[in-house]
Symmetry: C2
Subunit: 353 residues, 2 copies
């Protein structure tokens, strides 16, 4: 194989028909006379022709029928990270329904990312802007394909994006704990800056924190204020969204005289790590400590006890993103979808004193 690669033109010649007819045999078989069709197909088989090459078709059609999902992360991120996976699953569902393919494009380093974005064969991009979002958007812009940014951290109205109402979500989470009667609450925040691990003073939130955790924080504070609790009364422990920093944060939170009876975690990931720490310390959830997560990843539904959380509308996000790209109908302004409080087994009223 290899050297004598058969193409449509060869088949056409061998079958004694024009290339146009040969093409029709494959792409619009109804238009060509049965007898001819048979003959061409036979010749094709004899020659070992494998059907029209996608690359040629593609060049003509200009459409790939696939969307790219990109992030400034290694490829493994898409199959590893619970949030990314939740989204990918939802996107997969939508794409399956419309027969669209998915290409995952990613890269740790900038240079590779630029190349990957530029050479991905897709009709448009969904950008997971968790980290390095601005750069990702900039690179994608150059490609001049429709794209839509998710989890965008910056406030640039010229970027088509779909977001979630983190403030309202945070408020819903905090309100849930407050309504159960909790007053000693602690916050586990997330971020990827080393500066914000350990105890974080409220004043540092606005200037230093990224948009997502900042908004969630403001949501928490908003609900706390409704119940007359000043933000200073609620300790914030910063995590790097991973296990070690979460365990350290929990250690710090529970080594005080007045440990919290409830925890607001800014992600399900962190909440689940925290639950493991509590389990190892023999603290029972929700009897001793209530905890509520954020995001609504499937793992949260499978934990023991099942985690109460504020769920992102993954299916809706995916549906809108994919259709926006396929129909090139990008949203004019940022859309912020609502989250949904999902009460499961990790939250309950505090023990009576």
């Amino acid at each position: 194989m290899g050297k004598g690669h058969v193409r449509l033109a060869d088949v056409a010649k061998a079958a004694g028909v024009s290339q146009g007819t040969a093409s029709n045999v494959f792409s619009r078989p109804d238009v060509v006379r049965e007898e001819v069709r048979e003959r061409v197909l036979n010749v094709a088989r004899e020659l070992g022709y494998g059907g029209p090459d996608v690359k040629g078709r593609l060049l003509r059609a200009g459409r790939v029928n696939a969307i790219g999902v990109a992030a400034v992360e290694p490829l493994t991120y898409f199959f590893d990270d619970p949030w990314a996976r939740s989204l990918m699953t939802a996107i997969g569902e939508v794409c399956d329904a419309s027969g669209t393919g998915i290409a995952v494009v990613s890269a740790m380093n900038e240079e590779r990312l630029a190349w990957n974005i530029n050479s991905a064969l897709v009709d448009g991009f969904i950008l997971l802007c968790v980290e390095g979002g601005e750069r990702l958007v900039e690179l994608t812009r150059q490609r001049q394909l429709p794209f839509i940014a998710l989890a965008l951290g910056i406030e640039d109205e010229t970027i088509p994006a779909i977001g979630i109402d983190n403030v309202a979500g945070g408020a819903a989470a905090a309100r849930h704990l407050l309504e159960l009667g909790h007053r000693d609450i602690a916050i586990l925040s997330i971020g990827d800056v080393d500066g914000l691990v350990g105890l974080v003073a409220p004043e540092r939130v606005d200037p230093e924190m990224e948009a997502t955790p900042r908004d969630r924080m403001h949501g928490y504070w908003q609900a706390l204020a409704e119940f007359g609790i000043p933000r200073e009364a609620v300790p914030i422990q910063g995590t790097l969204h991973d296990r070690p920093s979460t365990l350290t944060a929990m250690e710090a939170l529970f080594s005080t005289d007045n440990p919290p009876t409830a925890i607001l975690a800014m992600s399900d990931n962190v909440a689940l790590f925290a639950m493991q720490w509590l389990a190892e310390r023999g603290l029972k959830v929700p009897e001793d400590v209530s905890i509520i997560g954020f995001d609504g990843v499937p793992e949260a539904a499978a934990s023991l006890p099942r985690l109460t959380t504020v769920a992102q509308p993954f299916a809706e996000i995916a549906r809108r993103s994919v259709t926006a790209i396929l129909e090139n109908a990008l949203p004019k302004n940022h859309e912020a979808l609502d989250l949904e409080l999902v009460v499961r087994d990790s939250t309950a009223a505090p023990r009576p004193q």
Copy 2:
């Protein structure tokens, strides 16, 4: 945008250079005089040219720099299923290192699958043959691209495939339990045929079971025989590799007079479901019941207690598959890689009677 789409030829004309030079400016900038390069780049910027279109380049180059991973499953499978994810993560690692992209191609129904396989823009395929493997191979063959089959159920030496030594793996798992002293052992098998749920007689294994579970079973039996235990003494409960059927199987296993002290599960999935059942029944692992899984998915390392298992060499499988495809050096014969017994916390000696 849109109507006046700018192409390389436009830029060339506007800059007053030949198309060849314009092309060089982008793809081999070192070969063109700096002055000219600048000029062309400026014109390109003014015209809003976004760089060479991949489709054109691609057609010429004939190479996409991406591999497709295909399965007869919905797209969500790749982000959902632990085994698939383990593999995808490993594949992602290899691809990241070589700057190769990944396209996931899938479909529930045959017709769509054929289309997807045919129109995926990739240089080759890795086939996850978990179900409907033969059909998948057949479709991919027509595409005339290099491909390699994983988890292939059939014995066709003409199909390039990488497999694992399920017999040896099964034997290692069983031997581990036997060496710990267990003699009352039960097997949780897997499959996707309804006929093989519930108690399965040993005689039915060879004629009815798919290759993977069959081989694992023979591995179990082999080790059991070494310890003088006849296969009839070891109950086999068939599952569909999902939660409900596993719970039913466990129910059946433990509602007898003589419940097992150890369980051989043919997948980590099933083992984890079984552990949940045990936990809910108040049976302690490994004190009351030992259990060993199969596959070595990451979930097995994160469970409580951590699951002992026989791990597939995912990284090695991925490395071989990807390089085989990229270098078009497909293995001549089936390779069967070794599994590794990973002893964690879910297995221990049985309670003394």
